[in-house]
Symmetry: C2
Subunit: 285 residues, 2 copies
């Protein structure tokens, strides 16, 4: 019956103070937001609503969009606020064009060429289901292990005792990452931070648009490894990325660390259906 955590009321729309809102229609509903298309005059907008959150809920997304907008196309933020106890974010509407994976690979390479001074971000992403501590760190290994892997595993252990029996594999993984040569030398790239196929689209010029970013400066292999966890990217994407910004030797082995983290995130959020995949990864460490 329902296709979103919260369907919003017409009353909610009215309170946005838009001139003559009309043709209000739910779109791309997700389990994390209620999402609507609507017009004001002849301009079309995209509305995201998160129930039971204050206006700061979208702060990290807004900061991510701003950082990305210097390098790649993203939606424009029109309004951010709070309404009837729910956070909302109003963006311009982007009409959809055709799949253009080569352009997507090039755009991602361009984004990854944007370098930061350290690993982390100006805003924490702890307004989601998982706290993501973006405090700046000079070491990618320390950042990924202490500010990503360990807090998430602590949450997983709280919810899923079976992981306690697998402590050695997890400890091995952390040691491997912290001792790795590539990890010690890597530069901080601006990342999308949640690069699965639900988080990009193409405009009517078939140019990629990045949406729902969860950005930080990190190892670019993170974005690429995450892209492989679920279907949606094809060879054109990977070969155009590789042509624009070649990966370094041994990336296949390192991808498994980031894949493990991303599958763990889904395991904690959605449960057992991700357990077999998580186990397969963990025992290889």
């Amino acid at each position: 019956m329902a296709a979103a955590v919260s369907k919003i009321s017409m009353d909610f729309i009215t309170r946005l103070n838009l001139q003559n809102p009309h043709d209000v229609k739910p779109v791309n509903g997700g389990d994390t937001n209620a999402t609507y298309s609507l017009y004001s005059g002849d301009k079309r907008y995209f509305l995201k609503v998160q129930p039971n959150q204050d206006r700061h809920y979208f702060d990290h997304e807004v900061a991510s969009l701003k950082a990305l907008s210097e390098w790649v196309k993203v939606p424009k933020v029109m309004k951010q606020g709070e309404n009837q106890g729910s956070a909302y974010l109003l963006m311009n509407w982007i009409e959809t064009g055709s799949n253009n994976q080569s352009a997507l690979g090039e755009a991602l390479a361009k984004l990854h060429h944007a370098k930061g001074k350290a690993f982390g971000f100006e805003v924490n992403a702890d307004n989601d289901y998982f706290p993501k501590n973006n405090t700046w760190s000079s070491s990618w290994g320390e950042f990924f292990v202490h500010q990503r892997l360990e807090p998430l595993m602590a949450l997983a252990k709280k919810q899923a005792l079976w992981l306690n029996q697998r402590g050695d594999h997890f400890e091995n993984l952390k040691k491997t990452i912290l001792a790795d040569d590539h990890v010690r030398q890597v530069e901080p790239s601006l990342l999308h931070g949640d690069l699965w196929a639900g988080n990009f689209m193409f405009d009517t010029n078939d140019q990629p648009v990045f949406i729902d970013p969860n950005s930080f400066y990190g190892n670019r292999e993170y974005d690429l490894a995450v892209s492989k966890v679920f279907p949606g990217f094809n060879e054109d994407f990977y070969s155009s990325y590789e042509a624009a910004y070649p990966l370094e030797d041994g990336y296949q082995d390192r991808f498994k660390w980031y894949e493990f983290y991303y599958v763990l995130l889904h395991f904690v959020r959605f449960g057992d259906i991700y357990a077999p995949r998580l186990n397969r990864l963990l025992i290889s460490f």
Copy 2:
């Protein structure tokens, strides 16, 4: 991060035995299904996946689509099955055209002119979060009270004790419905059964397509009342429906019963954000 209960693996796609599946991409994710667009050859398909369910999970939807297809446009079912412990439904892809609410109103009127011999349906819809007992009944009042309202309220009481204090209003509502003259005379129309704005679209000829039906033969006022609970329908819709199949006097009062049921459904599923609206309705009975 996630936009669906379950993102599916490429392995899942491969097991569907489609010729050369490609351009697999999540779309319109909902909290009840993972949904994907994919191509096989140059044909595009829409895939719905429900984790941890067997192949019968989509039986009621398939039967609903079949019933509706005689009267209005719906997606075509290509394959139904079970894969890696998840139920799936593969349908043809429908390209989206422009909003055409007049045509939507006419199409719904056409659907409602399709009459059954009794209230109910050939398949129960108990594969969802809520059991919906579609056993045939000769009385709309009995069907709506005993096979819809009461089982749902029992579920609500189990989860939300505050409703116990409101027993009188609910008892009054049931008595009113069972004693109502209009209810006694109404004919069984084929209903969409979950008519909110996420459940219709328009094809490239701007013709309405009904999706995600939860059909049964019932009072057509049910579909119309449900359409008013969330935004997405406009005056063109209601006036073209009214022109094609006028409503009977007093419908505004009766709509409140169905609105109450639909809000209760959302309250049971999504909780407190629906409580104020539910209370406002209940105390008016």
